[in-house]
């Protein structure tokens, strides 16, 4: 590749990625050379500014035509634009949590690390959303994963944090191995790593043996990637890791990392397997033929997440199971593959982002001081701080999917999508509704704590910090706004992304 080729690429399409990369580099250098006494908290605000700049630059790119550079490895299509915005918004909110994170053990001396590792992880996720090639997809995935492993163990003096990082890295490696094994089959069948080229080659496949192998590859890739979603059967790491990791990292894992998981899942599955013919009487692509397997996993995920959550007393473990359950709900939309699938996944992710991050912000606020993560920490919150309790109530209602909140609209969309396809997924929808009802038990357990329990003795006022207060306010407001006026989000999708028709172009 000579310099002219390089110059001929329209690098502006990668502006958000460059901004994040640049800020991450600057932060690394600053952290290295700034004196020890300099409060690394300020680096957090710099990172936050960087993410905001990336959001702005992504927004300016919305009107940009669908295009690709670097020999079709970097794509800028509606899918990339829409989901990148989600990643960036989530990251910005997590940073608001992170600047105010001051655990008892103290992590002042390596606090700077958090911010640039965080940006590196974010960069990986963003690359994934724009990838048109298995290699870049995989590199993005690993960038995200490896940064996350370190982030989980950032409380170096804390045994649980160490344990969490260790478990995360081991499980992550297993998942990577499975995914890669699956990918290697697909590569073997096509001789290329470019998604579009793969789809082209696979479309003319007719040998049943080959299709059989691709079916195995499908399962392996799906199971491998389900690690990132924390969905069954690769969900068991989540509670341990969520519990041990610093709260902002847990928030990151449960929202941004999960979104990234769905991004890569959709990219790979829809690019490759939607093109594979199955050779039956009717020309149904393999992706649709595998719906039963996906439905099974989605159902199992919802059931396991919600049922096991019932027994949790630790609030972070409880939210880990809750986040498993939410992955299951989104998988329902994925399984149904209706023509509103992209819209409903995007909206659900948006709603989930706000409600879950808001909840984590409040969890961090309540648990950081006392170090107690038992659910009883919420007791009497309404007496101690009514506004905080009302905010938490709204967020929980949204997580439970009660009307008037964004969570309800998200679930409604998924129901609709699952029932509008032929044949409709009645069973899956029923499981989803039943699982939702089970979730009321633990969500309302928290509500009961907040409203109907007296506060424990000796609990003083809750100290509100700037960043975290802003995060709670934004999340709560957005949860209500998108619950009452969901059309705002859907209009945005429809005017700008035209139902993601350019996904396969």
């Amino acid at each position: 590749m000579d310099i002219e080729t390089l110059q001929s690429f329209e690098w502006g399409m990668m502006a958000p990625e460059f901004i994040i990369l640049g800020v991450a580099t600057i932060l690394t250098l600053l952290d290295l050379f700034l004196p020890k006494r300099f409060n690394r908290k300020h680096l957090g605000w710099l990172a936050f500014a960087g993410v905001l700049a990336a959001i702005v630059s992504s927004v300016t790119l919305i009107g940009h035509d669908t295009d690709s550079i670097l020999f079709d490895t970097f794509r800028l299509d509606s899918f990339a634009k829409a989901f990148k915005l989600l990643l960036l918004t989530g990251a910005a909110l997590v940073l608001l949590l992170a600047v105010d994170y001051e655990p008892k053990e103290g992590m002042a001396e390596y606090r700077g690390e958090f911010f640039y590792l965080f940006l590196a992880a974010l960069l990986g996720a963003m690359m994934m959303s724009s990838s048109g090639d298995l290699i870049t997809l995989f590199v993005g995935l690993e960038l995200l994963s490896i940064s996350s492993y370190i982030l989980a163990g950032l409380k170096k003096q804390n045994l649980k944090s160490n344990e969490s990082a260790m478990k995360y890295v081991i499980n992550g490696s297993i998942s990577t191995a499975i995914t890669l094994f699956g990918m290697s089959y697909v590569y073997g069948m096509t001789g290329t790593t470019n998604l579009k080229a793969m789809a082209g080659t696979l479309a003319s496949l007719s040998e049943q043996q080959h299709i059989y192998i691709l079916g195995m590859a499908f399962l392996m890739i799906f199971i491998g990637l389900s690690f990132k979603l924390a969905s069954a059967p690769f969900h068991m790491w989540a509670p341990d890791v969520y519990e041990g990791a610093p709260t902002p990292v847990t928030a990151f894992l449960s929202v941004v990392s999960k979104t990234a998981g769905f991004i890569i899942m959709i990219r790979i599955m829809f690019s490759i397997f939607a093109a594979v013919p199955t050779g039956g009487q009717e020309a149904v692509p393999m992706l649709f033929e595998m719906q039963d397997y996906l439905a099974f996993l989605a159902g199992a995920t919802m059931i396991v997440g919600n049922v096991v959550a019932l027994r949790q007393r630790n609030i972070k473990r409880l939210f880990a199971y809750s986040s498993i359950a939410h992955a299951g709900y989104i998988l329902v939309a994925f399984t149904a593959m209706s023509y509103v699938m992209f819209d409903s996944i995007w909206f659900y992710m948006l709603a989930y982002l706000f409600m879950n991050l808001g909840a984590f912000a409040i969890i961090q606020l309540l648990t950081a001081n006392s170090g107690n993560e038992d659910i009883s920490e919420f007791a009497g919150l309404y007496r101690r701080s009514p506004l905080l309790a009302v905010a938490m109530a709204i967020l929980i209602l949204s997580l439970a999917g009660i009307p008037g909140t964004a969570g309800f609209i998200g679930k409604l969309n998924i129901f609709m999508g699952a029932l509008m396809v032929e044949p409709a997924h009645y069973v899956l929808v029923s499981i989803m509704i039943a699982a939702t009802v089970v979730s009321y038990f633990y969500y309302f357990g928290i509500m009961t704590q907040m409203f109907f329990r007296p506060a424990a003795e000796g609990q003083g006022k809750i100290k509100l910090q700037t960043g975290i207060t802003a995060a709670i306010a934004i999340c709560t407001a957005a949860t209500v706004i998108f619950g009452v006026m969901p059309q705002l989000a859907f209009d945005f999708l429809q005017t700008n992304f035209n139902q993601f028709v350019d996904f396969m172009q």
């Binding site: 344990e163 499980n171 299709i211 392996m220 209706s338 009961t448």
Partner: protein
Amino acid sequence: MENAWLIPLFPLLSFLILLLFGRQLKEASAYVGILLTLASLVYSVIVLAGRLQGPTFKTEAGWLQIGDLQLTVGFEVNQLNALMLVIVSLVSFLVHTYSKGYMHGDERFPVFYGYLGLFTFAMLGLVISPNLLQTYIFWELVGLGSFLLIGFYFYKESAKQAAKKAFIMTRIGDVGLLIGMVLLFWQTGSFEYDDIFAAVEAGEVSGTMITLTAILIFIGAVGKSGQFPLHTWLPDAMEGPTPVSALIHAATMVAAGVYLVAAMFPLFEASETAMMTVAVIGAVTAIFAASIGLVQTDIKRVLAYSTVSQLGYMMLALGSAGYVAGVFHLMTHAFFKALLFLAAGSVIHAVHTQDIEKMGGLWKKLRLTGPLFLIGTLAISGVPLFSGFFSKDEILISAWTHGNTFLFWLAVIAAFFTAFYMFRLFFMVFAGEARSQMKNVHESPVTMTAPMMVLGILAIVAGYVNTPWFGTFLGDWLVEGNGHGHTEGPVWIMLVATLVSLLGILLAYLMYGRRTMERDWLSSRLPITYSILYNKYFIDEFYERSFVYGAKAVSLFLRFIEVFLVEGLLKVVVGLVQGLGRSGARVQSGQTQTYGMAAFLGLAFLMLIFAITGGYFG
């Protein structure tokens, strides 16, 4: 009528004001709530007057676009909605006023009024919704308001449990409603009541589907209206403050189920099976709850079972094609049952106990509450000339003319029970001598008695809007333009109804009033029956043993799998790799292999299925 959407917003405003400034306002919060609900009431009356003259008004705007599907929001003022608006805002206003006295001195006074505002907002929003989706949204909000208010005395463990139980039990019904609603949407392409009815009328929906969706929607109504078998939450909900019981668990929210069936009436009418289901569940609930009411000793619980039973009557009416009868009884019941609850609250306020065994002789001490309670009791017992007499008569006529002879007789027996247990309650509370030490028993303040008087008047006169003697104004108006039909029946039914209610009163008088009959002459002869009734047919125990243990068992089972099965497998594997993994295992708790194992097993399982099914498609 164009601005009817403002009606729910007044209480919402009250909720928001009290949320923000409640702490500063303290007990002045009451005025905020009272004035704003008064505004709703005045506006509701204006809207009702407008609807009496004008046609139905409906307006809608786009809300949400999913793919090609357009969902709308808006409001509608038809006969049923206009009537409900007045009932809800009136009772709410009266309860707001009453609570000023009842809740006086409670340290969470502003919070109480805030919750009341939230509830009233949701309930008013529910009754003007023009489509199922909007109805569902408010339906849930109403449940939330009820949850918060039942658990208001949160320091009582029982109140906390009751709040949770109420929310979850009604949610079970809501699952049915949601599924029914979504199914209807896919059959007719719309959530709009009008569109759905048009599609049903035009025969676009198959008969089976109509029956299925109607029954699913009815399940939602069963949960909300405390019908058998989802009724157990309603008596427990009495843990909430008494004004709340009057507003939510007597007059408005629990009637929402009946309202829903009435609002969806054309759908139900299209399916004989669905109608039959509604009628049977209604009649069974009516007699079932009435029989439990016979032996309860908590004043509010007696009233709660009576509410369940009366709601059963309404369902029976609707299921017997008695649209007018059902709605009519909904209205009269709202008034006399709210009256009874407020009067009961006044009694509790005076004597600080809810146990009727400890009361007695209060007639002389509560000179206002006593007569008002008597009016309510007469009305609910169906004594001629009181409102309950006319509406209950309508229901019996509907059941008879619709050919449900067996259900008709069930309802007649339930009417006998009702008269008996209500007068048993009355005599035990007000007649005879006090059965325990009562100090400082005094009449309630005027803020409490005034609302009761308004309701007392309504409990008498509300029946005259629809009588066989002076004309059936309400009925004619309600069925105008929708042809739901109105039924006339033989005169002997009225005589039978009068007779059984007088019989019930007489028996109660003999046993508890004059005490010429031994109180336990029945219970001593039928000890098993008494025990079954006293324990409410052991329904709660049954649920406890089956569902709750069932859920726990599933949870334990999964945990068992996680801990023993997977870990057991792990132990085998660990035994093999122990030598290699000893150093690495030190950092871990020894479980992380399990996680990887689970993933592998999952993958292997799917692969196996894939291999067995051949992996070949088509």
